[in-house]
């Protein structure tokens, strides 16, 4: 029973971190209508940034979180318009071209990281690494609790931004109907760039947390892209609220499969579930997808 509770808690904490970047991923899809294969690349880059801030500057891993947001937010802000142009270009199939572009970006990031840093695994060291907290019979690593708290803060901030500010209203309006939003005076192109920047920044922050909880290597990007897709498919592409539920579910399912069946089966289980959900209910279990 203790193991059961422990696994549940671990899964929920990880799910919280997954939720942060999948919310942003869904938002990006809603606004740009692009599935971003590169999402795993941003997560891993965030993790590496954390590692170098710890190893190179001797600072704590948590310092890397705001740095990651600013740095990757800026990079995303520069990439956003390119993606927007391709998605809205006059080529025969802009949707597929945009998909191919993010796929290329993902491959470029992965190959670049492999070339620069090799296959070695890096961990972001923080003040809390190795510490743990006893809650009754359950042992919880403090870093996971802190990461989950950060995740809740980031997600909460994002929701406040989306639902309580004028710009958030513009983003939601664009996601709902970009044509009408444009008629209401929203500059869709600039907004798309901002949303992609926001998304890249949030994803890199989640990457720092992931790097502190597990570790990162260039190949692990695939895993996070899978997570984002899994959540997107379960919740329905573009559904932001559903992403939180789906991410927590993913965290818990992965934790249970890893604990009770074996960690080598967890990816198999996730992929198989993803595939089945797509076949049974292509618009997501919650049927709120676009």
């Amino acid at each position: 029973m203790d193991l059961f509770l422990q696994t549940l808690l671990n899964g929920l904490l990880i799910g919280g971190v997954i939720a942060t970047f999948t919310i942003a991923f869904q938002l990006t899809f809603g606004v740009l209508h692009v599935i971003d294969f590169a999402v795993g690349g941003w997560v891993v880059l965030g993790g590496y940034l954390g590692y170098y801030i710890v190893a190179g500057l001797g600072l704590d891993g948590f310092v890397a979180i705001p740095v990651a947001f600013v740095l990757f937010g800026a990079i995303g802000y520069l990439i956003g318009p390119i993606l927007y142009n391709v998605r809205n270009s006059r080529t025969a199939r802009p949707e597929l071209m945009a998909l191919a572009l993010t796929f290329g970006l993902f491959t470029l990031l992965r190959g670049g990281m492999l070339t620069a840093w090799g296959f070695n695994t890096r961990t972001v060291a923080t003040a809390l690494s190795g510490e743990s907290l006893m809650v009754g019979p359950v042992t919880v690593p403090l870093i996971r609790v802190a990461a989950a708290l950060f995740a809740v803060m980031i997600a909460g901030g994002l929701f406040v931004f989306l639902y309580r500010t004028r710009y958030g209203l513009a983003i939601r309006a664009t996601a709902e109907n970009r044509h009408n939003a444009a008629l209401m005076g929203v500059n869709i192109r600039r907004l798309s760039a901002n949303v992609y920047g926001l998304y890249a920044g949030i994803t890199a922050m989640a990457g720092v947390l992931m790097g502190a909880i597990y570790s990162v290597n260039p190949e692990s990007g695939l895993r996070y892209t899978l997570f984002a897709f899994f959540v997107a498919v379960l919740a329905g592409l573009g559904s932001v609220g559903g992403a939180v539920v789906a991410a927590l579910l993913l965290g818990v399912v992965e934790a249970y499969v890893a604990t009770y069946v074996g960690s080598s089966y967890s990816l198999l289980a996730i992929f198989a579930t993803l595939f089945l959900v797509l076949l049974i209910s292509p618009r997501g279990i919650l049927r709120r997808g676009l």
């Binding site: 599935i35 390119i82 391709v86 270009s89 080529t91 025969a92 199939r93 949707e95 597929l96 071209m97 998909l99 191919a100 572009l101 796929f103 290329g104 970006l105 993902f106 491959t107 470029l108 990031l109 992965r110 190959g111 670049g112 492999l114 070339t115 090799g118 695939l222 899978l226 897709f229 997107a232 498919v233 592409l237 080598s264 089966y265 990816l267 198999l268 992929f271 198989a272 993803l274 595939f275 797509l278 076949l279 292509p282």
Partner: protein
């Protein structure tokens, strides 16, 4: 009419050189040529669905790997069958798999289809990694057959057949017109009376089966396979880049892109001895092609031709049985 003769002359010369190549070069270059033929053929198989039908398959390596694993499993110890017997079996298994996978996933549009196929290929990697009978992560070793010329001609035949079928079926038959119609506007194609589900499924199965044949030859050629080497995402990545670089939905684009990229791959391997850098180049190539050359290299020379149905196209259509179901 004149251009047509020039085409035939050029093709004849190309085939002549390709057939005589084993006499002209040593084994090292023959291996490279074999690889180039394989990639040209694989790119073409991806292009059938991706280019002509407009469905981006991010899990095409699944079928390449299936062909390789069926051949390997049939040739290793308990069965020990000859290579020739494994190819029909590989085709049958892949075709069955493609129907089972394709029928539900081809209902999905665009991004969802891409995710579904990607997930399917990853399921197969994980499956082959955790299972006992596939040799797990260690893979399988096939009985070695060290005759470079045999593999060269096997790949040449497979590639030539792939291009012939593509030319006849997608460029010069009613089936090809149907496929292109559904790519350009699926509801409109449906309204014209085309059974789009059937046409898509036929294209998907053909594309899968083609990849599996190359997988089978590849497994026997390299004599050792593991989940990563035949199911790996890198294989799909390369096919996608080759087709995008050469030109999506063109006959010769995949051949140009396939050979060009394979040569780059070998050069990098020769000078750096490391493939990580190649992955970065692949990614950069996709990005640059999408941004600056969306119609690929073939798009630079494209002539605006009109689709016509040839005698050979009809014959191949009949042979493959494509497009029969919805002809009234």
């Amino acid at each position: 009419m004149k251009a047509r003769w020039l085409d035939i002359l050029f093709l004849g010369a190309l085939l002549f050189v390709l057939v005589l190549l084993p006499l002209l070069v040593n084994n090292y270059w023959l291996r490279i040529a074999t690889g180039a033929l394989m990639w040209a053929g694989l790119a073409c198989s991806w292009n059938m669905l991706g280019g002509y039908a407009g469905y981006i398959n991010f899990g095409h390596s699944a079928f390449f790997g299936l062909g390789a694993y069926v051949t390997a499993l049939m040739m290793v110890d308990p069965l020990g069958l000859p290579f020739a017997a494994t190819i029909p079996a590989g085709i049958a298994v892949t075709a069955a798999c493609a129907v089972i996978i394709g029928a539900p996933t081809l209902r999905l549009r665009g991004a969802y289809f891409a995710i579904a196929t990607w997930a399917f290929a990853e399921v197969l990697i994980q499956f082959a990694t955790v299972m006992e009978f596939t040799g797990g992560i260690g893979g399988l070793s096939l009985p070695p057959f060290l005759n470079e010329r045999f593999f060269y001609f096997a790949m040449l035949m497979a590639a030539a057949l792939t291009y012939l079928v593509t030319w006849a079926l997608f460029e010069h038959s009613r089936f090809g017109l149907k496929v292109k119609a559904l790519r350009d506007h699926e509801p409109a194609a449906e309204a014209m009376g085309i059974n789009t589900s059937l046409v898509k499924l036929q294209t998907f199965v053909l594309s899968a089966v083609t990849a599996s044949v190359f997988g089978a030859i590849f497994a026997y050629w390299v004599t050792f396979i593991n989940p990563k080497s035949v199911f790996g995402g890198d294989i799909t990545d390369q096919m996608v880049v080759m087709v995008l670089l050469g030109g999506l939905g063109t006959l010769w684009g995949p051949a140009i892109g396939g050979v060009a990229l394979f040569v780059v791959n070998r050069l990098i391997w020769m000078y750096w001895g490391d493939t990580a850098f190649y992955i970065a180049i692949l990614g950069a190539a996709i990005v640059l092609v999408v941004l600056f050359l969306p119609n690929g290299i073939a798009g630079l020379f494209a002539k605006r031709g009109r689709g016509s149905v040839s005698v050979l196209g009809k014959a191949v259509e009949k042979l493959v049985g494509a497009g029969e179901g919805d002809r009234k």
